[in-house]
Symmetry: C2
Subunit: 432 residues, 2 copies
């Protein structure tokens, strides 16, 4: 059977630059397997070398036995059966949040999700209930958040983040624009710690300003905590949710970057109370769990047990693991920045290429003098055997046209060296 | 923070009878832990007693090493990293479909999903791209399908299934009703094998009529294969997709009922070609994978490895496992029917209660003379310590008001005996 869709189809609604770029990138990577790719935002694979997956799962099973007085058979059943939509390891996650990032929340306010991606989908659906409910996003913005909004048909309004990661005037302008269109801005998505892809970290003052603006505009803040662990120890800042007024923040996290992506375990902290004209008052986390029943039913209890076991191994904390992983990722990032300085900073290159110098996160943002799109990536892959991500995918309407994103997270140091040499050859070939 | 939503809120759009009933049921089960519950549609927990989870995962890892010439470290990385959105075990699933249900499909046309639930969400989003695209569902209908439509805001039109599981006249009436409302019926959801909750199996003639009606009305059929394995060997019928004209069928399956729900692995077969005014022709499975990138990114490769290992253990088939599990579930169902006959068929009960007698599936549909709702369930739980599911949750608009669903799948035979005795006491207490 052949299905034909009009131009106002899925791809238009999902916007090719958002979703299309992901599959296009995968396709290019597949066709040029010997290219060095600065594209993936995945953790370095050595992260898994010391992981004992069966051992971790088993540790959690023993914990269940002790905690609930279960036989081994009954504890295993809790892993193999359907589980509660809200999750199985909520208490362990709550204790890790308190221990590791100073966020004190009740386990009932946590929903365990299939990665941070599902958390984004669920919180969006729980908050944006009418076609006039808009999501605002600080730009450039993680494609997964824009994509979740596209999947649900939630309209998105961009907010320029600027050098501090937040600009109160820009927030005000965005909400005014939405009001003018007859809508209401329900939530604002922000990644305060070395955002993907901007690399900006919001300082304490910026976080307070953000909360003040959210209060003034009556917004929920959706805070993505993915890269907080990459901050240098001295630069670490508490999550926005931990500040005064943080009760209007929903915090989203993932275990993909410090444990493993393959577990597909993330979470949301959603302790807002929800009142309805009819029906009882609930927590936003309960509403998200209700919706989760219709997206994935529950997050695999086996995968939750794996993460739970890792948490138990370090006394209900991922602090030590996060610090070690963060340090390794920072050294990779600073190596990339050093090599860029060495290779691309000579007089021949001056004015043709520039980049930012973040202290954490996985990403470097690079500016060229030419249009950066899929066609240029294709040329670069074929002729120079090096890959990166066009920046335009991270903008809602337009932006990033002459920029690209480099990720240092997945590559060995020597591969970074060779990759930058190839990048130099590529940049040298571009018209001035 | 307290959020207030108007009455046109999530619960209205998701409809309390759909989602609310699930959480209400969980809540009632939590409050009456000593009640016998005929509610869960979960497989009997002895299903897991012979499963060797680490062994299964390991078998798949060894398969990856051989298949792709990988070291053990590299094969393990494929499980621990992000994986392809489309899946990691597509070839094994394709071979099992050919072997076990006679469905011959290319691995590229398969998407591995987080349970059948995510497959429903993805196929719906891939097919229904404008607000005027309707989903038709054969009623009574699995709540998860109605729920997925509610989450995405896809309008749903009911089609009365009747005793044969399909009524061509009803399909025509539903599509005409949609057209009159300015819409287009894009797809029809049907569970041809002992549907949850109707217990109806569509015979070969009915399957052909369904396909003919789908052709005439230009619908995609979404076929849910969940309960096919419970058919008595002589009554087994090929999936609708395997019949002539089956190219317009998307088949959805799950490993929850014959392997384990906790793996959260399901799949969709979507081999339709998709043409767009702009852009290349793709498979519907590719479009679903693209959307999956924005819902869960990918299905946990560890969980896929577990299922893959089980498939490998039996030579790329789940046939033997499905037959054994199916036989055990049938014996549980026929035991429930026998006990109902024995306990509820006396003269005192005549005319007050009736039920169907399906040959497969997990469920019995029971009719009473009174309104069956949450309030009645609450009374039954408190006073008679027995639980069931009100049937109204399975209807889009209205229906099932005096019916309930009993599941025999999760209970031991002796518990079924005691549960039916309690049901009898409950039914006896109802006004005539």
């Amino acid at each position: 059977m052949s299905l034909t869709f009009e131009s106002d189809d899925l791809h238009a609604s999902l916007r090719d630059e958002t979703l299309g770029s992901v599959s296009f990138l995968n396709e290019v990577m597949r066709r040029y397997p010997d290219a060095i790719s600065f594209a993936p935002g995945a953790p370095h694979p050595t992260l898994y070398d010391d992981l004992d997956v069966p051992g971790s799962v088993n540790r959690f099973v023993e914990h269940l036995q002790t905690e609930r007085g279960l036989s081994r058979t009954m504890a295993l059943r809790a892993l193999y059966e359907y589980g509660p939509s809200k999750g199985l390891i909520n208490e362990l996650v709550a204790s890790a949040l308190a221990e590791d990032v100073g966020l004190s929340v009740h386990p009932n306010a946590i929903v365990i999700t299939v990665g941070a991606q599902e958390a984004m989908l669920l919180v969006l659906r729980a908050l944006c209930r009418s076609p006039n409910d808009f999501l605002a996003v600080v730009e450039p913005c993680y494609v997964g958040m824009i994509g979740a909004a596209r999947v649900l048909g939630v309209p998105v309004v961009p907010v320029e983040g600027g050098a501090r990661g937040v600009d109160v005037g820009e927030i005000r302008r965005a909400t005014a624009r939405v009001r003018k269109a007859g809508g209401r801005t329900r939530a604002l998505y922000v990644a305060p710690d070395f955002a993907n892809p901007s690399g900006v970290i919001m300082d304490e003052v910026a976080r307070r300003e953000l909360l003040e603006a959210a209060r003034a505009e009556d917004l929920v803040i959706i805070e993505d905590m993915a890269y907080g662990f990459t901050a240098p120890p001295a630069a670490r800042i508490a999550p926005v949710k931990a500040f005064d007024g943080g009760d209007r923040v929903v915090s989203i996290g993932t275990f993909s970057k410090i444990c493993m992506p393959g577990a597909r375990v993330g979470f949301a902290v959603a302790d807002q109370t929800v009142s309805r004209r009819f029906g009882p008052t609930t927590l936003l986390a309960d509403e998200m769990a209700l919706i989760k029943g219709m997206t994935t039913v529950n997050t695999s209890p086996i995968c939750q047990a794996l993460i739970g076991g890792l948490l138990l191994a370090e006394g209900g904390s991922l602090g030590a693991r996060a610090r070690a992983t963060g340090a390794r990722q920072r050294s990779r990032l600073s190596h990339l920045l050093d090599v860029l300085d060495r290779e691309l900073h000579d007089s021949e290159m001056r004015g043709r290429v520039s980049w930012n110098r973040p202290d954490g996160g996985f990403f470097v943002r690079m500016q060229l003098l030419v249009e950066v799109d899929g066609a240029l990536l294709e040329i670069c892959a074929r002729a120079y055997k090096v890959l990166w991500t066009p920046m335009r995918a991270f903008f809602v309407e337009r932006g990033g046209e002459r920029e690209l994103r480099l990720s240092a997270s997945y590559l060995d140091l020597s591969t970074i060296d060779e990759g930058v040499r190839r990048l130099k050859a590529f940049v040298s070939s571009l018209p001035r």
